[in-house]
Structure formats: C-alpha cells, structure tokens
C-alpha cells in the first residue's frame, strides 16, 4: 500500500482544484457544478465548501448526478441507483463534472449521456481528484486534475474521506 495523497496534500489539492475552476469560470454565474454519485460527491462537496469561502454562496449552483441507468455494463451486474438532484436546467450552462477517480472513462461517457436529459450545456469540463492516465478505454481527458498517476489494471486506487472512512487520504493498493 502506497499513499498517493496524505490528509494535508488532499486538503491542498481540493483547494487548488476549487481555485482552478474559479479561474476559468469567474464569479460562477453561468456555471454549474455536478458531482457524480456515489463517490464523486465527497469531492464535489469539499470543492463547493472551498468555493463558498471565496464567492457569494448564492451564485453557486450545485447538483448531483447518478449515472446507473446509463451504464454500458448494465447487463453484467446489477447496480443500485443513487439519488440524482439537479434542480435547475442545464440549457446553455457551463457544466463542471466532478468525480474522484478517472479510470477507463466509461463513467464519464455515461455521465455525458445522462446530462443531455437536463438540457444542452454550452460546455462540459471534467474535474477529477486522481487521473489513472494509462488505463483509458475511451477518448476522455480531465480538464482539472488533482494528481496524475501511472497504474496497471490490477492495482486499486482508494479514496478515503473523513465522513465515511475516518481519514482523508488517497492510497494505491
């Protein structure tokens, strides 16, 4: 087991990601943040907390998206759906998708498909905490990356959050 991000590094990384998002979407007026269920929500919650310290919280539009019904491996095993909560239209908005680990890219493909049910965004960008860059199965790349790592398929990246696992850290198994 190898630590990729310690608690302190994780906190700094989340802060940096929030600032980078803000850098490209000043004042966040036409931008919405969407965390991917289930595990991306922990990251998106933290990023939103950081943003609330910098900009008027009233300007932050934040939703949660579950992609279960859009998966391409739906027949292989049953996945249990989580709640989707997007109480606003995405027509002509700039969407920042947020997830914890970018691996094969299939989750993001499904998410792009699912987003269209809420309108046609003017732009979609992707923010991830960990990018396993050599394991992609689809042409999908992140716009905001916490940490890029080189892994083989047999390895596992585990993101722990204080809320669920009692500790903030990213480890490689």
């Amino acid at each position: 087991m190898k630590t990729i991000l310690s608690e302190q590094q994780l906190a700094l990384t989340v802060k940096r990601l929030a600032h980078q998002i803000l850098e490209n979407n000043l004042s966040l007026e036409n931008t919405v943040l969407i965390g991917l269920q289930p595990r991306g929500i922990w990251l998106s919650d933290r990023i939103v907390q950081e943003l609330q310290k910098i900009v008027d919280p009233a300007h932050i539009q934040y939703g949660k998206l579950d992609i279960t019904f859009y998966r391409d491996d739906i027949r292989k095993s049953l996945h249990i759906a989580n709640a989707t909560d997007i109480p606003f239209n995405l027509e002509n908005r700039k969407v920042v998708l947020i997830d914890d680990v970018l691996y094969t890219g299939r989750t993001i493909r499904a998410a792009l498909d699912a987003l269209l049910a809420f309108g046609r965004p003017s732009k979609v960008t992707l923010c991830v905490l960990v990018d396993r860059r050599f394991n992609r199965e689809l042409p999908i790349q992140p716009d905001y990356t916490g940490k890029t790592i080189d892994t083989i398929i047999s390895q596992k990246v585990i993101v722990n959050w204080k809320e669920t696992n009692g500790v903030d850290e990213v480890v490689l198994m």
Binding site: T68, F69, R75, S77, N82, A83, T84, G119
Partner: protein
C-alpha cells in the same frame, strides 16, 4: 444486491429486501420522470411483450410507458385481435412470440396461476400484471410506494382494505405486502365478500362495520365490486352496497381525523366511492397512477438485470 426471484409472479414470493429494493429503485425512476427528457437507455437491448388476455386501461398503458421510458422494444398483444380466437393455446402463443427473440413477458390473464404456469415452461422473465383473483403485484407495490411517499413509512401503518376482498387480486397482493412490511391490515366489507379464514391465513383483522374501519385506519384502500367474477348474487343491490359500504364525504368529515383515500381504479362512482370523495382532498388516486410508471420501471429494470 438483486431480487431473489427471476419473475414477478406475486408479492407472496418476495421478501422484505426485494420489496425495499423495488421501492427505492422506483424513487430514482420517479426523479427520472421529472426530467425534461424522461427516458433512460437501460433496457435498449431488451424486447418486452405485453400479453393482455383481459381488459385493462391503466395497467397496460402504465406498463407500456414504463417500457418505453426504459428504451425497451415493445410488442402489444390484445386478446380481441389475436389468434387465440382461432383456438391457439396460451403456451403456443407465447412460444411463437418468444421465437421472435422476446426477453420479457408482461401478462394479464383471467385465470389465476396463468403466469405461474408460463414461468414453468418458458425461459423469459415474467411479470404478472394481474391473474384472475390471485395477485396483482405491481399494483400492491405502487400502493405501498404511494403510502410511503404520503405518510413516510409502511411499518406500523394502519391500512383498511374495503370492498370485494374475495375477488380482488389487488387486495391479496396488498395484504401480503403490507404484512411483510410490518403494517397492520383490516379488511372491511359485507361478510359474503370476505373469505372465511382470512384472519388466520393472512394475519389481518376483519371488520364488518365501515365506520369502525375508517375510524381505526390511516389509509383506506377502496376496491371495486368485481361483478364480472361473481357468478352468484353476493349482496342484494349496488344501491344497498353503497348505503352500507360506500364512502361518503360526510362520514370522512365526521371521523375527527384525516385519512388517505386510495383506489386502484377503475372507480365505480356512487358505488364504493362517492365522487366528492374520489376527487376530494383526501384522495391520492391520481398520485397512485403517476407512481405506477416509476414502480413498473423499477420492476422491469431489476428483472432485466438479474441474469449473470
């Protein structure tokens, strides 16, 4: 997590976890149905046939809409326009349909046990959309979903099922489900329409006095008199039935508390329910219909993904 059964033949075969899984999945589908685009691609590789050997408005349309919202391919079979009139048996009809590569069968039939018979003989997943006087599982699931949505829980809920208990598949499925989920059930109606050993068999209480049943309950699920299934007179007239067991606004207002009125449809206005009750503030009848689509989407989704 997945369902413990390959088919949905009746609530009798489901366990608590199955019911909870269906209801929680239905909640997610209900959200899908609020989106600008109310469709997901989950079942785009699945073909479903709706075999309706008995008339239906709500159930058939609700199933078809659920199937289409899941992107499944849909085939419809109606008794009147089929070859059954030429003497083809149920099993032959279904095997012919299945040879066209159909994955799931949704069936309504006037014979109790017809879907159970099919399940023994064909490989496709079967969803019972009502069989004779036996079960109507998706109706019970959508009733439970609607009760839970309105009152927040099923455990400990007091539900009165009122009307033709003897001939109602909705009543039987509801009793199984509510008892499994820890609700208390009273069945009310004329003695001739309530089976004799129902208390012992299903763990429900029998009440012949409508007012007492209403005073006791949180929810009244009111049923239609199934005249088409009664081959002998079981009460003197519909007018007399209405006088003794029809639910009237005045009676509800005299209870001193609010109860929820449900009805699986079709309503016979002026018989079991007066119009001002069916359309009144206590009624969640149209919410039941709305929830039916989400619940059926959940059932189809969970059964389609059960293999492997």
């Amino acid at each position: 997590m997945k369902l413990s059964t390959k088919h949905l033949l009746g609530i009798k075969d489901l366990n608590r976890e199955d019911i909870q899984l269906i209801l929680s999945t239905a909640e997610q589908f209900k959200e899908v149905l609020q989106r600008p685009v109310k469709k997901v691609p989950s079942l785009r590789d699945i073909t479903i046939v709706n075999l309706f050997y008995e008339n239906s408005t709500r159930t058939r349309m609700s199933f078809e809409l659920a199937e289409r919202r899941l992107s499944a391919d849909v085939l419809n079979f109606a008794l009147s326009s089929s070859s059954s009139a030429k003497g083809e048996t149920l099993l032959d009809t279904v095997n012919n349909i299945l040879s066209m590569k159909v994955d799931m069968v949704v069936m309504r039939h006037s014979a109790s046990g017809a879907p159970h018979f099919l399940a023994k003989h064909i490989p496709a997943a079967i969803v019972n959309a009502g069989d004779g006087i036996n079960e109507h599982p998706t109706q019970a699931l959508l009733d439970a979903f609607s009760m839970r949505e309105k009152l927040g829980k099923l455990e400990g809920l007091k539900v009165a099922i009122i009307g033709d208990i003897m001939h109602s598949r909705v009543a039987l499925s509801n009793m199984y489900l509510l008892r499994k989920m820890g609700a208390e059930v009273v069945v009310a109606g004329p003695p001739t329409l309530i089976p004799k050993y129902i208390s012992e068999a299903l763990g429900v209480r029998v009440e012949y006095n409508l007012k007492k049943a209403l005073q006791w309950c949180d929810v009244a699920n009111v049923l239609r008199i199934q005249l088409e299934r009664q081959n002998q007179p079981l009460f003197s007239s519909l007018r007399e039935y209405n006088l003794a067991y029809g639910i009237k606004r005045k009676m509800l207002e005299s209870l001193g508390k609010e109860i929820v009125i449900m009805h699986p449809g079709p309503i016979n206005r002026g018989v079991e329910l007066d119009s001002d009750v069916a359309d009144g503030p206590y009624s969640i009848i149209l919410n039941q219909v709305e929830n039916g689509v989400a619940v059926r989407m959940a059932v189809l989704y969970l059964l389609a993904n059960r293999e492997n």
